[in-house]
Amino acid sequence: MRNAFFNAVFALAREDERIVLMTGDLGFRIVEGFMAERPKQFLNAGIAEQNMMSMAAGMALEGKIVFAYSIANFPTLRCLEQVRNDVCYHGARVAIFCSGGGFTYGAMGVTHHVTEDLAVTRAMPGLTVIAPGDPIEAGCVPAAIVAHDGPFYVRLGKAGEPNIHAGPIEFRRGRAITVREGDDVSLIATGSMLLVATRAADRLKADGINARVLSMHTVKPLDLDAVEAAAAETSVILTLEEHSVIGGLGAAVAEYLSERPGAGPRFKRFGVPSAFASEIGSQEHLLAHFGLTEAAVAETAKQMLAS
């Protein structure tokens, strides 16, 4: 996902001199070519995320479209007040993007996990929050950013995730993508959990259960039409995210469903409890530790359908 996103930024920047790629001293073996090719459109801000985020806002207010890159917590939690005051309040065209969403850097330890970013960024007025589900989606996000006048937060995983979409997609900010059609259960996933959702849907299919899979790449603004359709047309909704169950996609869907008139579907959030990982391990290990697996999702869907 990371490489697809970067490559799309590079391509756009070659056509649009407003675009500046800013990094917090990260991007080894990714950014060097662009740095040499377009020095006026590249900036290494150093390991100083507060200054980086305010500078990004300052440059954006002078007409730039700034893509500001770092890992996980650093461009979000570390400098959240700069994101709020300088980027969001001024409506600055800054797209904060990070690799290392969730447990991507699993064995690096808790300091390098981020499971609260969607919650805090979703609470920021005017900030679009996106977690693409595969490299094809990730490659579409930069163009959507340039097309929209406002700030963004984009959560990426790492390099090397598989493509989930079979071919080109129509990617629109705030519009979910239906990856699998189905009328029994809805699996609404964001970011890396889209893969788990499709695999869970395959398992359910083998049991004769038709699961709708939605890639909810835009967590804010949430595609309420897609959630409403899922609520009206399927009797069970599960949300899947590599993020705390507090404040992220599951919370956003729950907020909508709880205020929706009439009887609603049965609903459950798959995510990380409000707890730090108590084990050392890879992304796969930690996802399994927290029960974020295709088997657990499929089994839960079956039980909820039967209950």
Partner: protein, 284 residues
């Protein structure tokens, strides 16, 4: 319509006020604004008013009729709690109606108690959370350099604000990138929220710290208009380096009983005190 020719001053000569007259007028206006609203930070305003008066009357290039004019000098009051003084200056130059000043800090006003850009022409960015202004200014200065533009960026910090680490991130960055279109002015009134700066977190030697980071730094009496004007019209002090002016000031300057009195960081003069303050400022 402005062309590419950069005017040497925003206003025709006959409209220029002396900075001393302007400063006195702004002190009167500001104390009335804060006392009417029972708002904080009058002493913070009084320490910086002479700097603001010299900047706006003698240094900054701007056009009140086109607040976002691309060639304007950018000015950021990072110590956004002193915004009442800045609002008074902006109103004096016609950025917005003077009537707005009477509503400062009151329900439904355009003018909040920290510098707020929304709906207020002339306020470049919203400040008040300390440690944001200089990094914002640094980004603006970098963009200006890269676009080969000639406008300048000025930013005023408070001394207590220098406790914020984000300033020192920007202080490292700006000289490395040779941002000589950037000037930071520190309103060094020696008092912060809970006491003397030297007792909270000592900053001295302050100018030497900026020099060590690569800035061309000067010190000045922040109430000496001629000295301020000489320095501020002389930036950059060195080609290729950002400029730093440590302005030694007195908190509450201009009203005897407010000077160096921490109480007036929090409360404005009221009742008889207000009358005494205005009398000291020459209001009959």
């Amino acid at each position: 319509m402005h062309n590419q020719t950069r005017p040497i001053h925003p206003l025709p000569t006959q409209e220029r006020q002396s900075s001393v007259d302007l400063a006195l007028h702004i002190r009167r206006t500001t104390v009335e604004m804060t006392s009417r609203a029972n708002a904080s930070h009058i002493a913070s305003c009084f320490s910086v008013i002479d700097i603001l008066a010299v900047l706006y009357s003698q240094v900054l290039v701007f056009d009140p009729k086109q607040p976002r004019w691309r060639d304007r000098d950018r000015f950021i009051l990072s110590k956004g709690h002193a915004c009442a003084a800045l609002y008074a200056v902006l109103a004096e130059y016609g950025f917005f109606p003077k009537e707005w000043l009477a509503t400062y800090y009151l329900d439904g006003s355009h003018l909040a108690g920290h510098a707020t850009h929304k709906g207020v022409p002339g306020i470049e960015v919203s400040t008040g959370a300390l440690g944001h202004g200089l990094p914002l200014a640094t980004g603006m200065a970098l963009a200006g350099k890269r676009d080969e533009r000639t406008h300048r960026v000025f930013c005023i910090l408070s001394d207590g604000e220098c406790d914020e680490g984000s300033n020192w991130e920007a202080a490292l960055f700006a000289p490395h990138h040779r941002l000589d279109n950037l000037t930071v002015i520190i309103d060094y009134n020696k008092i912060q929220s809970l006491g003397w700066v030297k007792d909270v977190i000592n900053l001295d030697p302050l100018a030497d710290k900026w020099r060590a980071f690569g800035w061309a730094a000067r010190e000045v009496d922040g109430h000496d208009h001629a000295a301020l004007e000489a320095l501020l019209t002389g930036v950059p002090f060195e080609a290729g380096r950002p400029s730093c002016i440590v302005a030694h000031t007195t908190k509450g300057k201009g009203v005897s009983f407010m000077e160096n009195n921490l109480q007036y960081h929090y409360t404005p003069p009221r009742g008889d005190e207000l009358a005494r303050a205005l009398a000291e400022l020459g209001v009959k």
